[in-house]
Symmetry: C2
Subunit: 450 residues, 2 copies
Amino acid sequence: MHSIKKYLLKPDFYDGWEVTLQGWVSSNRGNKKIRFVSLNDGSTVKNIQIVFKSETFDLELVDSLRTGAALVVKGTLHSTPEAKQPIELQASEIVSYKNVDQDYPIQNQEMKMDVLRELPHMRHRTSLIKAIMLIRSTLAQEVHKYFAARYFYYMNSPIITSNDGEGAGETFNVSDGSKDGFFGKGNKATLGVTGQLHGESYAIGMNKIYTFAPTFRAENSNTKRHLAEFWMIEPEVAFYDLHDAIKLAHNLIKVVVRNVLHKNKFELEYIEETLQNGIIERLEKFVESSLKIVDYKEVLEILDKVKDRFEDKNIHFGLDLGSEHERYLTDEYFKAPVAVINFPKDFKAFYMYQNEDGKTVAAFDLLVPGVGEMVGGSQRESDYDKLLKRVQELGIDEKDLQWYLDLRRFGHAASAGFGIGFERLVMYVTGIENIRDVIPYPRTAGNIRM
Amino acid sequence: MHSIKKYLLKPDFYDGWEVTLQGWVSSNRGNKKIRFVSLNDGSTVKNIQIVFKSETFDLELVDSLRTGAALVVKGTLHSTPEAKQPIELQASEIVSYKNVDQDYPIQNQEMKMDVLRELPHMRHRTSLIKAIMLIRSTLAQEVHKYFAARYFYYMNSPIITSNDGEGAGETFNVSDGSKDGFFGKGNKATLGVTGQLHGESYAIGMNKIYTFAPTFRAENSNTKRHLAEFWMIEPEVAFYDLHDAIKLAHNLIKVVVRNVLHKNKFELEYIEETLQNGIIERLEKFVESSLKIVDYKEVLEILDKVKDRFEDKNIHFGLDLGSEHERYLTDEYFKAPVAVINFPKDFKAFYMYQNEDGKTVAAFDLLVPGVGEMVGGSQRESDYDKLLKRVQELGIDEKDLQWYLDLRRFGHAASAGFGIGFERLVMYVTGIENIRDVIPYPRTAGNIRM
């Protein structure tokens, strides 16, 4: 059975075809002689109109089908180039249907996002959430396609781990309730905050790898940009340096955005129409953009010249860029995506490549117009002694990391990679501002609905 | 930079090309005039031979490169159709290298699998584990490709959940150590044992969905077939019945196996040569197979006729098939994959469609020759009252499942789906018998290495 999307994309081609459609009623209007039922089958945010005439149907039955009802219907497609809808189905037979109870909570009129958050099992049946979620799925599939086409190894780093990655704390503990713990006495077991460290072990040997998996942070911050459970994309490539990683990040995002523009045209159009957020233009600009690469120290000079405009006017070496600074760089100064490189080592992770100046590391943040930081990455420190020293300086338990340190003794010529928070990417591509609205069942502090 | 695999696949085409290769030394032999270094770059299990001559190189340096050393080398490709290796590189320049410390634990000779399990961060640098893991990655990417090509929605069910899915218990608890719990007082938080229930909510509205994500079971069983953390593929399709789901399962496995036969030819050949397990013939047969569908009651009759051969000779309605019974069906009686359908409801999950006989449910197990059960699935009960009654009979807390029950009141015409344990699939496709050897970092009772 074809999806409704196929018919909508090529109305002329399918004109006159006899087909069966299945989906859910999204609206139902008309009179005693004719009824128009909009049907949606989840293949796109768009509906197809089905025409029921009183000659063929008991219109009382058709009339009784409420929004949300499941319906399988036969008929003939008619392309309608002059109408708002490019194609409709002249119904000849209702194959089967199942109505909804009267208290179906999804209404035809626009519903508030915070009301919908209480209904994570239902809200994808509204057009806006459906459009967002369809884009989410395409993005994920395109990410896999991008890497598969370039012979990247899909790495499944462990989720339950005894390492806490960046040493940031804020991890969830895992237990089966037994005294010694499922994984044995004295063994920590936490939910991974990153797949990177284990991913690095596979980059040495597999060369090009990526992870794409859930990660977890027990961060008690109730913002629009944080989840306790979110998906991360983390490529890691042996023999890559900082600039290779930046190029990969920029190209990856460009390619998947370009493909989403094509594949989710209906969904992006719907979002733009509904939210008036200029999302399509933003994405088209990004796809055409070239990337600026600018050193952190140069950024300080640029910002210092206009420091009066910022809340945080104290522009000095050691400053972690705030979103006001990032926005100025992307939206006003460069008017383009910007990779800021070579940050002070003090606010970056222990594993980053230590530059010769002794003060900075070969890290990058990729900032994009309208959003700010989208990607963070770095070249990794390859030198065992330098890495060990940094681990010790930061007071990280080196026993836990011995296996990771050892990678440097066994054929670690170079390696670089980055992480993209997948939900942040979905937010960027849809223009949706609350991260809870771009993942089916959001998990945040105090909330584990269903 | 091309991968070594490309050159190995088309040796004639690349004859005479000047190229740079990068990878890791897998062997190093020769004399004072000439050295032969095998290099592997992770694109395939096969190595490429690099020839270093004393006219151009300090062979003492080349000699010093140990197995595992990273190497970037320039040279000219020569196709060698008469030799065992179809192509080799005549080296002209070592661009860079990084040797390994002497205690590099991966040796040239064959290593025991249980020894390698102690080295999850290194073992993929042996040929056998590399071959297995490359096949794993292809399988995962092909699964995504299969569903994307058929417009399935990639659903990310939550990992942390307050539902325990099948009511089987044996779940891991998640906490941040705070008194009331991260997710709020009185809220259970466990790691999901299945993505199915949440997946079903999206099938209603999205029509065709699949999950592909880690799932968790705190099962204290130390077998060759169980992990505490494993990946599951769970499609769910609205309007599908039992037979539609069976067809989808069979076709999915056939298509991905066929593509792996093609894409991982070198890896399958290596496994077959090393383990002599006839894996390629098994897979080729499977791809050509047609599926037998047989009713559970018919199975009882078939088994009853040869009951004396089984350990469990008590063939009666209510019997849960043992692996000896399954093997007889696939390997001897049908000599084909078999879907057994309509099992007694007593040993199947509460959500399965209740057949009219009042005793059986519309469930299926897909059994494959040489392995046994690979897929389990069912049509789902669409009737609210019947489902509620079953929940109550089984003593499941209906409060937790109200949202799931409600799906039946809101446009749930029909739905069917199944689950494939991804590691079981990798075991099937590689012929590897211990599940710990088909996932990078296995998690089992008492083991959380790295």
